[in-house]
């Protein structure tokens, strides 16, 4: 399959850039921060995204979606990385939808996906239980109780966890090695949500479940082992985080290049110094390498390729490293003003690190890649 976007994907990308630049630029995130907005995103922006069909890009046509695939969705993720737009896009339209598509029964999909498409339901995936990604640690327990189930445990740093309508919670089924994904209303009795304000000013939350009643039909797939689905969900999350970091890196790099072509010191443009030129050219090359990994990974997701786990780890690892380099170079090359909050550069740096840490940083993924290859 050719490593290029098709016509439809290019149009979607262009439309996304146009919309986000006009309606949800970095200034929006800054305003949310300055206002200490409790929701953490602009409902009207999300509403507009829903109207553009973005909530349903990954939803099958049967449930009212566009069924446009991960390459398409990845273009939106990338563009949202450029503008640092906060919205339920990642937690709901990428992870929530994917969870239902991967693990939901026909009835669950039919019930929930149209609501997501319509913008009536937001989700959050409650997955990790500590500050560092570790899919092997699932201490949250789901046990049978009468005709239903009961959920106990805690989840940490759940993106959108304090704002989503419902939480998709991974849990171990008591007395088995099996994993389950269950749907819990955020407002349900026994659920405690504590918002954590992160450096990137996105929503994150620590969530505790104390004897939360879960109806049988709220267990995705009716209780079939969700281990494979969870693993794929993490890959999907990482692929889109990589796309987001790619967009972020490109944008902060472009701003840096523009600055190098504007700022003068010692009577010449600082972009005329070869020391900075070579570093900028190296970073350009790194971003080009990242682009290819991200696109290949998104294509592999759509093709259902066996290579998905390997590629997702490579893409996320490279994205983490490139975004770190791009944001560090951005601050350094901007000099003093790069350190001021007045410029947006710091917002890129903060988001880059949080997105890298989510679902595993570059070290985690390099090691996961090696393990997947058997070394």
């Amino acid at each position: 399959m050719a490593l290029v976007l098709d016509e439809e994907q290019r149009m979607l990308k262009d439309a996304a850039r146009e919309f986000l630049t006009a309606n949800a630029p970095v200034a929006q995130l800054r305003a949310l921060r300055d206002e200490r907005d409790p929701l953490g995103y602009r409902p009207e922006t999300w509403r507009a995204m829903v109207e553009l069909g973005w909530s349903g890009v990954l939803v099958p046509e049967a449930q009212g979606g566009l069924d446009f695939g991960h390459v398409g969705m990845g273009q939106i993720s990338e563009e949202a990385g450029r503008t640092l737009t906060a919205s339920p896009l990642f937690a709901t339209a990428v992870l929530g939808v994917s969870a239902l598509v991967l693990a939901g029964t026909g009835a669950q999909r039919a019930a929930l996906l149209p609501a997501i498409v319509a913008g009536e339901l937001t989700l959050a995936l409650a997955f990790d239980e500590g500050p560092r990604h570790d899919p092997n640690v699932v201490a949250t327990r789901l046990r049978k109780s009468g005709s239903g189930w009961v959920l106990d445990g805690a989840k940490a740093f759940v993106p959108d966890g304090h704002s989503a309508d419902c939480l998709l919670v991974s849990a171990r089924i008591a007395d088995s090695a099996q994993l389950a994904l269950v749907l819990v209303e955020r407002a349900a009795p026994g659920v405690t949500v504590e918002r954590v304000v992160m450096a990137d000013q996105r929503n994150s939350a620590n969530v505790r479940f104390a004897g939360v009643a879960v109806a049988s039909d709220a267990v995705l797939g009716g209780g079939e082992d969700a281990g494979a689905a969870l693993s794929r969900l993490a890959d999907i999350g990482n692929a889109h985080l990589a796309a987001e970091l790619l967009g972020l890196a490109q944008e902060v790099f472009q701003r840096t290049v523009d600055y190098l072509n504007t700022r003068k010191q010692f009577g010449v443009l600082i972009g005329s110094y070869q020391g900075l030129q070579h570093r900028a050219a190296h970073l350009y090359s790194e971003i080009e390498l990242l682009k290819s990994l991200v696109l290949k990974t998104l294509q592999a997701l759509d093709a259902g390729s066996d290579e998905v786990p390997v590629l997702a780890s490579l893409a996320k690892a490279k994205a983490g490293e490139v975004a770190t380099l791009a944001t560090n170079e951005a601050v350094q090359m901007h000099g003093g003003v790069g350190m001021t909050d007045e410029l947006d550069i710091g917002f890129f740096m903060k988001r880059a690190r949080v997105a890298e840490q989510l679902y595993g940083d570059h070290r985690y993924h390099l090691q996961r890649y090696a393990s997947l290859c058997g070394y």
Binding site: G130, P131, R132, H133, A156, F157, V196, V197, M198, A199, D200, Q201, S204, K264, Q265, F266, G267, Y273, G275, L276, T324, N328, V331, Q332, G335, G336, G338, M339, T340, D341, E342, I345, G346, M349, K350, R353, V354, Q357, L358, D361, R363, Y364, L366, Q367
Partner: protein, 393 residues
Amino acid sequence: MSDLEQFRRETRAWLETNCPQSQREPVVEFEDRCWGGTKWKFTSDDQKRWLEVMAARGWTAPDWPAEYGGGGLNKEETKILREEMQRIGARVPLFSMGLSMIGPALLKYGSEALKRQHIPNIVKGKIWWCQGYSEPNYGSDLAGLQTRAEDRGDHFLVNGQKVWTSYADRADWMFCLVRTDPAAPKHAGISLVLFDMNTPGVTVKPIRLISGKSPFCETFLDNVRVEKDQLVGELNRGWELATYLLTHEREMIGSIGQSNVDARLYPAAIAELGLVHGQLADSALRTDIARWEMDHRAFELTAERITDEATAGHGVGAASSMLKYAGTEINKRRHELLVAIQGQRGLVWEGDAYDHGITATQWLRTKGNSIEGGTSEIQLNIIAKRILGLGRE
């Protein structure tokens, strides 16, 4: 018993008597270290008393001449005083840019009158000094500065804008680089002047950094009157002083990585990640931490070696650029690793449970280390040209 042994014994006894117990505790908060000045609020009577008894002996500036209020100690005595203070964990009684920067510059370049006016106040911590160097369009290219000081007979009239004046909002006086001859080549028309921050026309506006609130300010100078007798050194020869002061600043910033009592990263990593088969669970992080500790140790030893070489009389010059470059880059790496060790927890911005985001704010703050006091690029230029002699036709 030699004089020095005698001095050590007396010093030890005096410190034991005079240094309050509370002033022997490690410094935790910013205010634990006294910066002095008219606006300073002492955290305790002990802090005030400790400053006063030390200043009375001139031991806030132990090796400065006694005639201006300094301690008048020689090198060996100064070293002994430091060692004895360290022995009991005594805090420095006063920490200021007066002591570390403008004081030494005044002693070297200032007129007798200026020394008499300012040095005793620096020693006693009466005045908080801030520096006026960088300007919005002149950061690395400091010598391009545009703040004008017009000669008005008995005084200068200063107009312009300074940035990155740290603690300008708490400071009493500024030492400030100004252009006194706009027609001269850029390095040749600069002078260093001193003025009271309460002078009419001085306005201060704090700068918010990516790491949050900061001590840095923009300072606007609007027809500020500066008396002629507050010129340090010769008119239009201020660049020499600036270079002297920058070297001092470089050394201070380059040593940031050193100031930590225990800079090792692995205890935190073990606490956070745990061991598997006796090794840190994340082996890639383990290697990165080990490499950082290697470089950090090498840096500390290098700072020590260069001091020892200077003492032995065969040091190289221009070492401050190398130390500034290496020290700040290593410190930046340190904080990237601290975030990596803590994962999402290291990126929390607010909240009691997370120490108010101290890991993240410190991490972001260190990004400025390789910019302030001359960027890493400027330091590399200095090494390439002055030490390696590159690019001379």
